[in-house]
């Protein structure tokens, strides 16, 4: 038997590397940086020389070049209203998103584990789900006393349905062997839920969260544009784009667009990071 153990136990431990070394040696990171720089250079060239070989370059030729966008960015970089817009949009996104997580995860799990609950709540859920969040804007302005709350509500809807559907699907797909094994070891319904269903659903929960986070950014910006950016006149990034468009500087519109892109990327990365932290067994692939 000792032979058996030795022959099977050869799993080589990887050499420990410092975090900085890992970062510098990370090929994905460098590819990403090169791709970004390449895209900016391409954009610059295309929008500087609008006509190539007598053919006008569509779309990109009409857009101000990155250098001009950078100028516009520099101008507003020290303007507190711009950062306030960041803050406001982020706050709205996270308010809606966190409430969607808090309600969506238990709701999805209940749909998965309880047949009566599913019979009662799944049909209305399915009818509400296809309604685009933006279609809720007028109704939610009527529902809620402040514009802030209406925006957060629309944001919440954007994430809620996605999270619930992912949690439901994930929980229903748990391998029956795990449940059986736990049952024969004496697990009661309560244990099955907390010790098997919940950890088994975690991957789907974080997938739903990452997708939901993307949708909240889409939704919050559109609702800011429609509702005029809140009562205090404080914009948010969506309103920032809208007012830049009205004010007539296209470069500033693009600054707003890129800001949203960065904000969305950062918040999705945060969600993915939390997901990785909370599922140590998935880090080993």
């Amino acid at each position: 038997m000792t032979n058996a153990v030795q022959s099977e136990s050869i799993i080589s431990a990887p050499r420990k590397k410092s975090n900085l070394e890992k970062l510098i040696r990370n090929k994905s990171l460098w590819r990403g940086i090169v791709a970004l720089i390449g895209a900016v250079i391409f954009w610059e060239i295309c929008s500087q020389s609008k006509i190539w070989f007598g053919v006008e370059i569509p779309w990109i030729g009409k857009v101000p070049p990155p250098s001009e966008v950078l100028e516009a960015w520099k101008k507003i970089f020290y303007y507190s209203g711009y950062w306030e817009s960041w803050y406001l949009s982020t706050a709205r996104v996270f308010a809606g998103f966190i409430i969607a997580m808090l309600l969506g995860i238990p709701f999805g799990l209940m749909l998965a584990v309880n047949r009566y609950f599913r019979d009662v709540f799944f049909p209305p859920f399915e009818i509400l789900r296809p309604i685009p969040p933006l279609a809720w804007v007028p109704a939610s302005i009527i529902f809620w006393p402040t514009t802030e709350m209406s925006i957060a509500f629309v944001t919440f809807l954007g994430a809620f349905f996605t999270i619930v559907i992912n949690v439901l699907g994930g929980a229903r797909n748990i391998d029956v062997q795990y449940l059986r094994a736990a049952q024969s070891m004496g697990a009661k319904q309560w244990d099955l839920f907390w010790k098997v269903v919940l950890p088994g659903t975690l991957p789907s929960i974080w997938t739903g969260a990452a997708v939901g986070m993307g949708i909240t950014w889409e939704v919050v910006l559109a609702s800011e544009m429609i509702s005029g950016g809140g009562q205090q006149g404080g914009g948010g990034l969506g309103f920032f784009i809208w007012s830049s468009y009205m004010g007539g500087t296209v470069a500033q519109v693009i600054v707003g667009m890129i800001s949203i892109g960065i904000a969305g990327y950062l918040s999705s990365s945060l969600i993915r990071y939390i997901g990785v932290i909370s599922m140590p067994w998935r880090r080993l692939f």
């Binding site: 032979n3 058996a4 059986r180 094994a181 049952q183 244990d191 950890p199 067994w281 080993l284």
Partner: protein, 294 residues
């Protein structure tokens, strides 16, 4: 004559450990068990009139052609499923559901991927909360040593090889001190080398404590090597085709597999299995033909 001598010798040798074995072993009795699946009009009997008694402290191996109702049988023994008619008695009492007195080791690894090997092993006692913490730790450490996974305690299942996963699963089952271990083709899918090592390991484990064991397999060599009694199953609907007593001395050694007795057992079992497989083949051939024509 010689065989019966050997049997006597074997059973008298067994008496010394009999006192030890009865306390953590139980008997299983299947009486006219029937189970079918499907609707009323397209019902298929998978198990029909299955009667068998499994003796305490014995390793009973069920071997049958693939696709016969072996897994359905296991599910009923474990209590995940109930027979349509007939009954299954554990030490005389009918089985009503899954319980820690019967531990199943499945075909596919059922270790929970989100728990480390150690957390998996202590899962049962932890949720039942029936072993004091320090005792549990000692017991778990002892079992990890026994299955040779001490250095792998804190690894997650995906970091373990197939053979190691199976051993962790054995430890997870044994920590619950079941009366009966039910193994559903536990070594299927392991590479040949690792499979042989696992068989050797498993047979030592069994010979150590002689816990009643029901072992399902489709490998005839594995079946003979492990078994006290070999139950050859018929094709669907499954019932007992023949019971072969394997009178090989214990402890079992792999080189016994080349003895003439084993050859005889193997020939007998193979003939029966071949007949059963052929029956199935004939049944299914016209169907396959018609599919091709379409």
């Amino acid at each position: 004559m010689q065989q019966s001598d050997m049997k006597n010798l074997y059973s008298s040798a067994d008496i010394s450990s009999a006192g030890k074995s009865t306390e953590n072993s139980a008997s299983l009795e299947l009486k006219n068990v029937c189970r079918g699946f499907g609707d009323e009009w397209s019902r298929e009997e998978v198990i029909s009139n299955f009667s068998l008694s499994i003796n305490p402290g014995e390793l009973t191996v069920l071997v049958g052609p693939s696709g016969c109702g072996k897994s359905s049988l296991v599910n009923m023994l474990a209590g995940f499923d109930k027979p349509d008619t007939g009954e299954i008695l554990l030490d005389g009492d009918p089985i009503t559901g899954p319980g820690k007195d019967r531990m199943v080791v499945f075909q596919e690894s059922a270790l929970m991927p989100w728990l480390t090997a150690y957390q998996n092993v202590v899962f049962g006692p932890k949720i039942r909360n029936d072993i004091p913490a320090h005792e549990l730790k000692m017991k778990a450490d002892y079992l990890f040593e026994k299955v040779g996974l001490v250095e792998f305690k804190d690894k997650y299942p995906i970091q373990l090889s197939g053979g190691m996963q199976r051993r962790a699963e054995l430890a997870r089952a044994m920590i619950n001190d079941p009366l009966i271990m039910i193994m559903d083709e536990p070594f299927r899918g392991l590479v040949a080398m690792s499979r042989e090592l696992m068989q050797e390991f498993f047979v030592r484990l069994f010979e150590d404590n002689r816990r009643t064991n029901v072992f399902v397999t489709s490998e005839i060599d594995e079946a003979i090597f492990l078994a006290d009694r070999l139950i050859v199953l018929s094709n669907r609907p499954t019932s007992v085709r023949k019971i072969i007593d394997i009178n090989l001395p214990r402890p079992r050694e792999l080189n016994m597999l080349s003895s003439t007795e084993v050859f005889e057992y193997k020939r007998e079992a193979m003939e029966l299995l071949h007949e059963e497989a052929l029956r199935n083949f004939k049944k299914s051939t016209p169907k396959a033909d018609s599919k091709v024509v379409k």
